[in-house]
């Protein structure tokens, strides 16, 4: 089967500093891939290149065969990128809910403005997505009244409402208090069980092993090791992977 997402020769530099030094991988439909690695390894940058929140310096990204971010050899503008970005749902470390809108409206606004659904249907869909993340009872609340874990679940509902082909998670639990991590991981697990395609940057190694089909270990801007989740995490082949996992385990 063809890959849903394919990444080839991805490079990203900030001035003289090269953060990504040639990344290649592909994701089949329904696959869940965890990106792990020390901070500064480039894993978040890599994820943010998928929907061009970071513009890659070189390389090619294709979703369902369609080249992302480039058309006729030229970089696409944010305006041109909008329909492509809508195909990917993104969940941020800091939730990034819009505080001036209600919880339901946070989920519904893009459904109306991007997919063009009428207000009533958009709201129904928003409520359905909120139910999926167990937040339907707070539909009319302001995001500012919610805990971090609740905010992140609403952010997940917002991404789901796009009906994305691919879900991108950028350290979704790193900003949460420890007791709130579980509720978010549970929701992500439930989505994984639905057979969604996911690319997940995380520090939760045990979670990555349980949920992901494959794990990629990034260090110094390259993929050092990749393979089935349990193999990479339980019996890493590379010394750099071993020492990273050892450090993170206590």
């Amino acid at each position: 089967m063809d890959a849903l997402l394919s990444v080839a020769g991805l490079r990203k530099s900030y001035g003289p500093v090269e953060v990504l030094k040639g990344i290649d991988f592909s994701v089949k439909a329904g696959e869940k891939i965890a990106l792990i690695g020390p901070s500064g390894s480039g894993k978040s940058t890599c994820l943010r290149c998928m929907n061009f929140l970071e513009t890659p310096t070189a390389g090619e990204i294709r979703l369902d065969g369609e080249r992302i971010g480039m058309r006729d050899g030229r970089l696409m503008s944010d305006r041109q990128l909008a329909p492509q970005r809508a195909e990917m749902g993104m969940v941020f470390q800091l939730f990034n809910l819009w505080p001036h809108l209600s919880v339901a409206e946070n989920v519904a606004i893009a459904v109306r403005k991007v997919r063009g659904l009428p207000a009533k249907e958009a709201r129904d869909l928003a409520l359905e997505m909120l139910a999926k993340v167990h937040m339907a009872h707070r539909a009319n609340a302001s995001p500012l009244e919610l805990s971090g874990g609740q905010q992140q679940r609403v952010a997940i509902a917002r991404a789901l409402a796009q009906k994305p082909k691919l879900m991108l998670f950028d350290e979704p639990t790193s900003a949460l208090d420890p007791e709130l991590v579980r509720e978010v991981l549970t929701v992500i697990e439930e989505l994984a069980d639905e057979g969604r395609t996911m690319l997940l940057v995380t520090h939760e190694i045990a979670f990555a092993r349980d949920v992901a089909d494959r794990v990629m270990f990034l260090d110094g801007g390259v993929i050092v090791e990749e393979g089935p989740a349990s193999a990479v995490i339980n019996t890493p082949r590379e010394e750099r992977t071993r020492s990273f996992l050892k450090q993170i385990r206590h």
Binding site: N51, D78, R85, F92, P99, A110, K113, E145, Q162
Partner: protein, 219 residues
């Protein structure tokens, strides 16, 4: 000791100026807000260097030269070049253009205080840049700009008094002309002060209501 009928005459005289004060303040406010917001959008959301430079120069020139100087240029300066503006038009245009420079900075501070994640989340769900500015960024920036804008509005009501210098027939214009003919200096200026308070205090109060309303949503 001035009797009550003197006071009534004074009040009637000043009230003639009140409407001009209100018209000049309101019209200048509208120009200042609309133009200032437009300049702010161009400054924040375009990447054209000459546009940035032009707006920066405009803001600095208008903010760092006294209002009176600008008004004299518009009223007397343009007249000597053959373009005669009425004193009220010159007052509205002058205060409006200065206001745009002031509000441009206030709006910009509002947009700049928003975390980058707000834009990123909007782009990530597939909103276009225009939709992001209208639906996501502007409502939030407005709330942050509100206290600054209300200070500006109250300042503007008071600043309308300088336009008496180009003979726009507002409150202080009538006050001064009555003083020269009647010498009731204290009573006339105190009445004028009272009128300005009557304009500014309700404005302040209205703004407080707005701030409380939006403040609640902001937590």
């Amino acid at each position: 000791m001035p009797d009550f009928s003197t006071f009534r005459l004074i009040l009637e005289g000043l009230l003639t100026g009140l409407s001009v004060t209100v018209i000049v303040a309101l019209a200048a406010l509208v120009i200042g807000l609309v133009l200032g917001f437009g300049l702010c959008l161009l400054r924040e959301f375009t990447r054209i260097r000459t546009v940035h430079f032009t707006i920066d120069a405009y803001v600095e020139l208008l903010r760092n030269i006294p209002a009176l100087t600008h008004l004299f240029i518009l009223y007397f300066g343009l007249a000597s070049l053959g373009l005669r503006l009425s004193s009220i038009t010159a007052a509205i245009v002058g205060l409006g253009l200065i206001g745009a420079a002031v509000t441009c900075d206030i709006f910009r501070a509002g947009f700049r205080s928003l975390p980058k994640g707000q834009i990123e989340a909007a782009l990530a769900v597939g909103l276009r840049p225009g939709q992001t500015i209208v639906s996501i960024l502007t409502p939030q920036a407005m709330r942050i700009a509100l206290p600054g804008l209300s200070n500006y509005a109250v300042q503007l009501v008071k600043d309308t008094s300088v336009v008496s210098a180009i003979a726009a027939p507002e409150i202080m214009f009538f006050a001064r002309s009555m003083v020269t003919s009647s010498f009731q200096t204290t009573l006339i200026y105190a009445t004028a002060a009272g009128l300005y308070l009557l304009l500014s205090l309700p404005l302040m109060q209205g703004v407080r209501v707005l701030e409380n309303h939006y403040g609640k949503l902001k937590a």
